[in-house]
């Protein structure tokens, strides 16, 4: 195999001995080009953008300057990381040659490949894992600030305006973290190997989807220092159009993230459809693959709608258009519709891969075939299909189309049926299995418990009369934490422990995984049961202070939150210490039957020396010849 030393003859700068451009770009150049671009555009706009006209009372020059600077940051960052090299080389007929592709794949670059526009799916998977951990840490820190402030009825520890910004910031970055926490690290690292492919269908798009997320993060961080996201994560308009400049960071963050999601969705789906190993028919394709594809396929049409809603929000702010301004012909309901058309499928974008990951682990740790593989697929398909028909249950109380409340109640409650199928598959697999009591297996029990509570409380919220009382209360907050965190995050943490040996070549410290598991699960249930209680008693969500009758429940929740924090920090320690000094993992420590466990540690650059041919299903535990 040629190495990076064999540079293409056509590469620029050969005569002078300088490295070709493709080798000089990395995260440092990206940060520099992005920052310089933003500063230059900011200064140019400050000097040359005309002042708002006296007559144009709604014209907002600051929003224009802010948005232009954020766009400059984005374009500069993506240019600096090398995202535009491929398209321009294509247009000028100078396609990347083998050596350049090998360089982009990160061949022989050691740790540097993690800071470049590297296309190898395993590098991208690790990059996603690290960035997910970072976002979860930031989001968790914000959660602790929220809970500390709510430890006392009068609040006041944090300034109310900063508190509002923290709630919005916590909400949106945790949503993004939970969206990427399975499909990012494991969808990228594990999925291609699991289907017997050498890489993703579009390796450069794979790198693009990751670096777009990196580019999206600074705007949302900066937003905190420019007025914050004071609207909650949903950023309802026209509230958002009245908020400070921080909302522009939110808009930029969402737009960039939506592009990343679209790119990742097309890439993952194509990979699965077109690149499965010979013999891997659809009924021999592991259930985790179905979960990942369902998730990204749902996101594919949903996130562009969110993208559009934010483009219109930006236009309302910077150009005084009137999409959401009812005084000039707009409608707040328009935003609510666009937001929730994305917002509810997004819940299942988070949930489905987590449940699918646990369904993947269930046969491994019970040494039994997956109970009713077809039912699992029907469940995933049913949830995916119905999830796009339920969005207006978030809007019962908004006054939009009351006649549609009943149909939306029906579709929402119907979603219990495919969800029940997934429960049945998991319970059926556990039933009379030879349980191997590992943290991933215990996570299945935790998911069944948490998702049951999250699901049943969701049925109450889907019910119009009950929702009239519960809407906008802490009950809603507790409900969606039970689904997204109690079910979603539980699956992700189990995935981390389960696939850690393949991704890092080390076993995850067993004791730390257990300690973390119990701290997180006990803390979680304490925290959010307390939140259900105060919600039922009438405490509204997103408040900085509250009546003293809610004190006890809030105190319980805060104590639970501190317990979760301890558990997550133990897990973080487990990740770092196991990665550095953990016991070296054998090729297949769980004796599992899917393809990722048939490749060596560390996984070779192109995964398989010879591509596998599949002759049986992946869950044939206890069967001869399987």
């Amino acid at each position: 195999m040629t190495t990076m030393m064999n540079r293409p003859a056509s590469a620029p700068g050969d005569a002078s001995g300088r490295k070709p451009l493709i080798e000089r770009l990395n995260i440092v150049t990206a940060l520099v080009v992005g920052t310089v671009s933003a500063i230059v555009i900011w200064q140019l706009a400050l000097h040359f953008l005309p002042q708002d006209a006296e007559t144009a009372s709604f014209f907002n020059r600051e929003d224009k300057i802010s948005l232009m600077s954020l766009i400059a940051w984005f374009v500069g960052f993506m240019t600096g990381i090398g995202a535009l090299i491929g398209p321009f080389r294509w247009a000028f007929g100078k396609d990347l040659n083998h050596d350049e592709n090998m360089f982009l794949a990160g061949k022989d670059q050691g740790i540097k490949r993690y800071f470049r526009y590297t296309t190898d799916h395993k590098v991208v998977g690790i990059q996603y894992l690290v960035i997910t951990i970072i976002i979860l840490f930031v989001g968790g820190t914000l959660a602790m600030l929220i809970r500390t402030n709510l430890g006392h009825p009068q609040g006041g520890w944090i300034h109310p305006q900063a508190y509002n910004a923290i709630v919005g910031w916590h909400g949106i970055i945790m949503i993004v973290a939970t969206i990427i926490m399975i499909t990012g690290p494991f969808g990228n690292f594990i999925m291609p190997i699991m289907i017997g492919a050498r890489d993703m269908a579009f390796p450069r798009l794979n790198a693009l989807s990751f670096w777009l997320i990196v580019a999206a993060i600074p705007p949302v961080f900066i937003s905190f220092f420019t007025g914050g996201i004071t609207t909650g994560w949903s950023a309802y308009n026209p509230l958002a159009s009245q908020a400070g400049l921080g909302m522009n960071g939110y808009i930029a963050f969402i737009c960039i993230f939506a592009i990343s999601t679209m790119v990742a969705g097309a890439n993952i789906t194509t990979t699965v459809v077109k690149m499965r190993a010979k013999g891997m028919t659809w009924n021999r394709t592991p259930i985790f693959i179905y979960g990942v594809v369902a998730s990204v396929a749902l996101a594919l049409p949903a996130f562009p709608v969110f993208f559009l809603s934010q483009i219109m929000s930006a236009m309302d702010r910077a150009f005084a258009t009137s999409f959401y301004n009812s005084a000039a012909g707009g409608s707040g309901w328009l935003y609510e519709n666009l937001f929730w058309i994305m917002g509810h499928p997004e819940v299942y974008v988070i949930l489905i891969p987590s449940v699918a990951a646990l369904m993947e682990m269930a046969p491994v740790f019970t040494r039994r075939p997956l109970f009713s593989f077809n039912l699992a697929i029907m469940g995933i398909a049913g949830i995916s299909g119905l999830s796009v028909l339920v969005w207006a249950h978030h809007m019962y109380i908004s006054g939009w189309a009351p006649l549609l409340n009943a149909p939306f109640m029906l579709t929402t409650e119907l979603i219990s049926i495919p969800t029940g199928m997934l429960f049945l598959v998991l319970i059926g697999t556990l039933w009379r299995g030879r349980l191997w009591m590992t943290m991933p297996l215990m996570s299945i029990f935790a998911l069944l418990w948490n998702f049951m509570i999250g699901g049943i409380t969701g049925i109450y919220l889907s019910d119009v009369p009950a929702d009239a009382f519960l809407h906008g209360s802490m009950y809603v907050t507790a409900h969606f934490h039970y689904t997204l965190m109690g079910a979603g995050l539980t699956g992700a943490l189990a995935s981390l422990v389960y696939w850690f040996p393949k991704m890092t070549g080390r076993m995850f410290d067993k004791t730390l995984s257990w300690v973390s598991f119990w701290l997180v699960q006990i803390g979680f249930n304490v925290a959010f049961i307390g939140m259900f209680l105060v919600g039922l008693a009438g405490q509204p969500r997103r408040v900085e202070s509250y009546a003293s009758i809610f004190n006890k429940g809030n105190l319980i929740t805060t104590m639970g939150a501190y317990t979760i924090m301890a558990g997550m920090l133990v897990l973080l320690h487990g990740v770092i210490s196991s990665w550095r000094n953990g016991v070296k993992a054998p090729m297949n420590p769980w004796q599992a039957k899917t393809l990722e466990w048939t490749v060596a540690n560390p996984v070779p650059l192109e995964n398989f020396e010879t591509l596998p041919v599949i002759t049986s299903d992946p869950y044939g535990y206890g069967k001869a010849q399987s």
Partner: protein, 229 residues
């Protein structure tokens, strides 16, 4: 104890310390920590008996050049603002007399409720020395509206309209030499944290002019602490 468990415990402690550090920073980074304390002015006879009397003086400006944002007006020199600060501290169970000099022009209120005086002694205020109970909602510059947060302390609601300076009296630069002077008194209850804000839509933003200074602490809103005397 096994070394790795000590290390795990260390991570928890370190992580908690990092989070506490960030929290302490955020908690201390309030927009404007400057507070104006009420000045003692003897006692006053009220329907509730003789109570300690305190005064507060403040102004409402058409920009930010004279408030707490510095001589250059800070980040938004053209934003309307209250001054000299926007955080106030007064004693509990006392009479507070507030005098506001209003230098800004204005237009119509979006809610006529705020054109009426609420929560003051006798339900009145004085405008340029004349007693009033309400003003013309078509010509309001700002309001001073004080209210409580949702907790168990005794509630307090005081809202007084500040009529607009006539457009003809607004100079091209600087402030009018004849501001509208509004004075009103009210009685504080138990100690607690309250907030005040302006209810005239004098901010920017694309909708209803409740953005910018109207949605940013330190301009047309602030804290009002009632402390034990």
């Amino acid at each position: 104890m096994n070394k790795r468990y000590i290390a795990a415990l260390g991570t928890v402690i370190l992580g908690a310390a990092v989070i506490a550090g960030i929290g302490t920073y955020v908690a201390s980074a309030k927009n404007d920590s400057r507070v104006l304390e009420a000045t003692p002015a003897g006692t006053m006879e009220t329907p509730e008996g003789t109570l300690p009397h305190y005064t507060l003086d403040m102004s409402a400006y058409p920009d930010s050049m004279s408030g707490s944002h510095g001589a250059d007006g800070g980040v938004h020199p053209d934003w309307v603002s209250y001054g000299p600060v926007t955080n106030f501290k007064v004693p509990a169970h006392s009479v507070i007399t507030i005098t506001i000099k209003q230098y800004d022009s204005g237009e119509r209120l979006s809610n006529d409720f705020f054109a009426t005086v609420h929560g003051t002694l006798d339900g009145t205020a004085t405008l340029d020395g004349q007693s009033i109970t309400n003003v013309d909602p078509e010509h309001v510059g700002h309001t001073f509206t004080l209210h409580g947060l949702a907790d168990a302390k005794s509630q307090l609601f005081v809202s007084v309209p500040l009529p607009a300076v006539e457009e003809a009296d607004m100079p091209d630069s600087g402030y009018t030499t004849s501001p509208r002077v509004v004075t009103f008194s009210f009685i504080t209850g138990d100690a607690g944290e309250y907030v005040w804000n302006c209810e005239y839509p004098c901010g920017d933003g694309t909708t209803a002019r409740f953005g910018g200074p109207m949605s940013t602490q330190g301009y047309m809103a602030g804290n009002f602490s009632v402390v034990k005397a």
